[in-house]
């Protein structure tokens, strides 16, 4: 693992975490989660719960490696996935290691540029903040649950006892005070990096190139393309395997992109219904 952890692009990253320009105007902020250096400590999960007062989601033993959280949800806004693979770690010396590759990845709301949840919310509770993040206004949400089915990542989730939906706010309150989100600040390896999205993108591209050069051919960015199915993620990732291995959709597309098609089909069907009703009266005496 030394080849990876001794990497200057991680240690010497120098990103300004202030969410405002010097003139006070807000910037588009996000996360770059570099899973190649995640150690699975779950500090992010804990820090998030502490700061955001997220209730516990029960103690359970899943038996799925070290993951007892299970999935992202109303009471887990960060979720660390653990995947044990029976193959050597792809470092410069393929003989090194014990033939077990252990993948860890801290998942979070993607803060999609084109967010399905935000599109479909009928109350306007979900909104886009000045930092280009996506947040639920808890005083507006009436728990209709539409966003839950709309999110292509299974992020939004209804808290049954409460009736409303909850998810990562990218620490909206902290950003307003130019503070780093709790998870990023707690992450001891800087696997979770917080900063302006454009700077993080550049850093991520550099990092994936470095890894490729060092023989980690599996490394790939997920959610970094600004024209992907959801217009790019505000919180994107560096993964070491296919997204579905981490429980992430490999090619998510925001459903509202096809809303025109759908309304078109509905208009045709509505027209057919009206015609059908008219046809039922053909030949009737007035």
């Amino acid at each position: 693992m030394t080849a990876i952890s001794g990497d200057p692009t991680i240690i010497s990253h120098d990103i300004d975490v202030a969410s405002h320009h010097p003139d006070g105007s807000p910037r588009a902020m996000g996360f770059f989660t570099d899973t190649s250096i995640c150690i699975g400590c779950k500090a992010c999960e804990v820090a998030c719960k502490e700061w955001n007062l997220v209730p516990d989601d029960g103690l359970s033993f899943t038996g799925d490696s070290y993951d007892n959280t299970g999935s992202i949800g109303c009471n887990s806004w960060r979720h660390v996935a653990f995947i044990e693979q029976g193959r050597p770690v792809a470092v410069s010396d393929p003989e090194a290691g014990d033939g077990l590759r252990w993948l860890m990845s801290s998942d979070v709301c993607k803060h999609c540029a084109h967010a399905a949840c935000l599109d479909v919310c009928p109350t306007g509770a979900l909104f886009r903040t000045e930092f280009d993040t996506v947040v639920v206004q808890q005083d507006i949400c009436n728990g209709c649950g539409y966003c839950v089915s709309a999110c292509p990542f299974g992020v939004l989730d209804k808290r049954r006892e409460d009736g409303r939906v909850w998810k990562c706010t990218l620490c909206y309150d902290r950003l307003r005070g130019d503070l780093e989100p709790a998870c990023a600040q707690a992450c001891p390896t800087k696997s979770i990096q917080f900063g302006p999205v454009d700077e993080l993108l550049a850093l991520a591209r550099e990092r994936v190139d470095t890894l490729h050069q060092r023989g980690v051919g599996d490394a790939r960015l997920y959610g970094a393309d600004r024209d992907n199915g959801v217009g790019g993620f505000g919180a994107f990732f560096l993964l070491l395997d296919q997204p579905e291995v981490y429980g992430l959709p490999p090619d998510p597309v925001v459903s509202t992109r096809r809303l025109g098609q759908m309304w078109g089909a509905a208009a045709a069907a509505a027209g057919a219904l009206a015609l059908g009703v008219a046809a039922a009266f053909l030949g009737e005496r007035r």
């Binding site: 919310c121 009928p122 759908m262 089909a265 219904l273 059908g276 009703v277």
Partner: protein, 297 residues
């Protein structure tokens, strides 16, 4: 479903959090919408007997629908938060307004009809409700298709036709059920036409979806799907052949209505089913990447 890689086989989407109330609403809303249109058409053709009864059916549908929807909210007391915005990107928002307008128009029209007052207002509101009817009967298809739920989203082209036809069949059946046979001929015809198109449209949908359509016919849906088809076909047949006799019209009508309810349940349940197995979400996406149709990661 074909083998797909996944994270411990866990769903990567959240299942719809909607209770069966919503499946019931898919039925009652469709029935109300198509009935309002039937009422308006009957009035235009001078069939007041049918118009009056279809209008009553529409009102009944519109009275039971809002409570079904409101009860399903996590915060029912905040139902009016739906009315603080109109968002065209949200089929639920559009639908809320369509439903509210339909309810208002149908309520006023029925009031005038029953009290025998203000015939012009009645005609105007009845016509408005009739015009909104097809929208009310089909928007719910867009509502569920505009989600990440694989079985619903993949079926986005056919679902509106399935819902429109099923609504027509239910409206015809309900009207024929409560209307004297001599005035009910258009209702019987609408019922038969709707049933025929519904069976055809669901067939087309399942064939086009192939593997992705399995949630519509596996598990508990195997039974409800067969019930939907059988009850609809048998009821429509009875309605067409012997509908002039009251007992046949009543039995046929009830059978078609039950069939429509089963169909809505099948569609509703297929959504949840397709979320439980991550392969339904991953499969088509992975295939898109392999075909080179992905827009980027």
């Amino acid at each position: 479903m074909t083998e797909a890689r996944s994270y411990y086989g866990r769903p990567l989407l959240k299942g719809p959090v909607w209770e069966p109330d919503i499946a019931a609403y898919l039925f009652t809303g469709g029935l109300a919408g198509a009935s309002a249109t039937l009422a308006a058409a009957a009035r235009r053709r001078g069939n007041d007997v049918l118009a009056r009864r279809a209008l009553m059916v529409a009102l009944a549908g519109l009275i039971v629908s809002p409570p079904l929807l409101i009860r399903d909210l996590g915060r029912p007391a905040r139902f009016h938060h739906m009315l603080r915005v109109l968002k065209v990107t949200s089929p639920m928002s559009v639908g809320t307004w369509v439903l509210s307008a339909s309810g208002l128009a149908t309520g006023v029209a029925t009031g005038c009809e029953v009290l025998g007052v203000m015939p012009r207002l009645r005609t105007a509101t009845e016509t408005a409700a009739g015009a909104l009817g097809p929208a009310l009967a089909t928007y719910t298809a867009v509502l569920i298709a505009d989600t990440a739920v694989p079985a619903w989203h993949e079926a986005r082209f056919e679902l509106p036709f399935v819902f429109a036809a099923s609504s027509a069949a239910s409206a015809g059946a309900a009207a024929a059920l409560v209307t004297p046979a001599a005035s009910a001929r258009p209702a019987r015809r609408l019922c038969a036409m709707g049933a025929l198109v519904e069976l055809a449209a669901t067939g087309v949908m399942e064939r086009r979806l192939g593997e992705a359509g399995q949630p519509y016919s596996t598990g508990g849906n195997a039974v409800s799907r067969r019930l939907a088809r059988g009850l609809t076909a048998a009821g429509a047949l009875a309605m067409t052949l012997t509908g002039r006799r009251r007992p046949a019209a009543i039995l046929g009508g009830l059978s078609v209505l039950a069939g429509a309810a089963c169909l809505r349940w099948t569609v509703f349940a297929a959504g949840a089913h397709s979320v439980r197995d991550p392969a339904y979400a991953v499969g088509p996406q992975r295939a898109r990447i392999e075909r080179g149709e992905s827009r980027g990661g």
